[in-house]
Symmetry: C2
């Protein structure tokens, strides 16, 4: 009952346009046509680890309605609405205070809501081991995954000394965000680097202490009497201080600096699903390497494509290699997978030319 979970679902990615939109980022989409959105799958995944009343959703005000619709079982009190976008550090710090105000002995895990984890049992084992580890002492813990390729869009954690009695846990030496290609290749070869899953554990107290040590300016704003984190008072207080807080990712704020930061290495069948290519990577393919999502497709002379639609539309494609075909009600994207890094720019072009209805 001392274990809590904070699910971060305020992100506004555009890289999955036209499926993801500003008004409906990918965590709110039923990506695999299973009947569950990525957010709903994330919540289901932790139900076996923490009681439902200890699940906290942290999102942007703009998505309040969507979150309530998708997760009717979550208590209103536990849906934390950021009044402004300030990256993950202020969000995690707020969550730590919110939890500590209710249970000073609590520990918690923060989870991204838009990733895929295929090995659920391994995920449960890793989190149980992680909770025990951070409950034993004043420690912060990240989850790291064996780096399988030199992906330049990922964050990497360099491990050093292995912990005695914890064969899968290491001290964190450093965290490197989105390295250049050559560096990513060295990382993978070295065997010292893990992909950072963006999953962190710690006692609420330990997290607050780390912020006090490493980012005291930010920490001092949040470090007030716990009544400020209860009921109506909380919205008022956060509405006041949040917009004044600096924007910072939690990796830089504490995990990369804290002397008591560790990483648990685990293979979770994880993908951050940040791009169409990532989706192609983890999806079942036919013998031509094509992935089709939710659609009736006829592909002639097509290889290594991903073809997706939201409806029961028929899609016929001929002669496409390594292409994304993504079709929605009001937008269609036909684009080489290798150009997917440009989708962000495309979305900007569209907003400029045709207005926000399409983005």
């Amino acid at each position: 009952m001392n274990r809590y979970c904070v699910i971060m679902c305020g992100g506004a990615g555009t890289r999955f346009w036209p499926f993801s939109r500003e008004s409906r980022p990918k965590q709110f989409i039923d990506f695999f046509g299973t009947g569950q959105t990525l957010l709903q799958m994330t919540v289901d995944r932790v139900r076996r680890l923490v009681p439902e009343e200890n699940i906290i959703l942290l999102t942007n005000e703009q998505y309040a309605e969507t979150v309530r619709e998708q997760l009717p079982g979550i208590s209103q009190e536990h849906i934390l609405l950021e009044p402004a976008r300030r990256d993950t550090a202020p969000a995690v710090l707020w969550a730590a205070h919110h939890i500590a105000a209710r249970n000073p002995d609590a520990s918690f895990v923060t989870l991204p809501s838009d990733h895929v984890i295929l090995k659920e049992a391994a995920f449960h084992d890793a989190l149980r081991q992680g909770f025990e580890f951070v409950e034993q002492a004043d420690r912060l813990l990240a989850l790291g995954l064996p780096a399988k390729s030199p992906n330049t869009a990922y964050s990497y954690i360099q491990k050093e000394d292995r912990m005695p009695e914890h064969p899968d846990i290491f001290r964190i030496k450093t965290i490197a965000e989105k390295p250049p290609r050559e560096m990513a290749e060295i990382f993978v070869k070295s065997g010292e680097f893990l992909w950072n899953a963006g999953i962190y554990l710690g006692k609420a107290r330990s997290v607050i202490s780390a912020f006090n040590r490493d980012v005291p300016d930010m920490a001092s704003r949040f470090d007030v009497d716990s009544v400020c984190y209860l009921g109506e008072e909380e919205n008022k207080f956060i509405g006041d201080i949040y917009p004044k807080t600096s924007s910072l990712p939690v990796e830089y704020a504490i995990m990369d600096r804290a002397k008591n930061a560790y990483v648990l290495e685990a293979d979770l069948g994880w993908s951050d699903l940040s791009t169409w290519n990532a989706l192609h990577g983890i999806s079942p393919k036919n013998k031509e390497g094509n992935v089709t999502q939710n659609c009736r497709s006829l592909l002639y002379n097509c290889n290594d494509c991903i073809v997706a639609t939201e409806s029961d539309k028929v899609i016929v494609a001929w002669g496409l290699k390594d292409y994304i075909v993504a079709d929605t009600d009001n937008a269609l994207l036909i684009c080489p997978i290798e150009a997917e890094q440009r989708i962000r720019n495309i979305v900007n072009d569209i907003r400029e030319r045709f207005g926000p209805a399409y983005t």
Copy 2:
């Protein structure tokens, strides 16, 4: 008042799939986003030549409702509904009898309803000249267009002796349907061949005589007292004989055999619009050679493509050369223009796999 027009609008082309469907062939589509369907444009085009009450629509029973909706001004009596598909010869013969029953001195022109004619004044001039020519004597006349390329999907008319006093009119030597590439190239080089527009003129009497001479078996079925072609009687009579009649194109039945068949050469800015490529050919292009129909498009590194949608959807394409992108509510086609001859097969595949809702 002796001049009539028969507009053939029973065709069921699939080559413009997914825009054209079995339930809505291309004559019923507003192809250019002008607010008029090809059929409506065809009717408008002849209003200056024949009185509205002399315009006859010949279509298949299946399209009766669509024709009435699109042409509310046409008299019910002049919408002739084929109870079965029997190609153009029985249709033209029926139309000749229908017209002769009302006006034994009538002449008429048959017009396809799904072609494009850009030079309207030249069209009017040619038809006026054509009507005069067939009214002077027992003659049949086709309209032929300067053959501008060795298109293998077209029908070709070989001209011979020029008519004295009619510098643009020639005797027909032969008609060749869909020649192989090498032959089409010889046709174009020779200067003797014209593209066949599928537009024919003659007195109703002359047309009936030609059928009597050249296809007596078919002609005898239709050669009955004119009361059979009036009012309720007509539907009953046609419903009886039409299904028993052989299927035959009018080119073979009479135009290619009749000794009194002529061709009028005229440049009408004509396209039979039988394929996406034909549409690409006659449409305005941007400097990369791309044609966009009714859509908001962003084309990056695309050349010589045709991108079409029915809605105000945004279409983004990247790196396509010589492609068709045709998007409708329930079907999307992405296909090289050079593979468009296969669309017919694709449509069959779709019907088999996903059912008739998509074809």
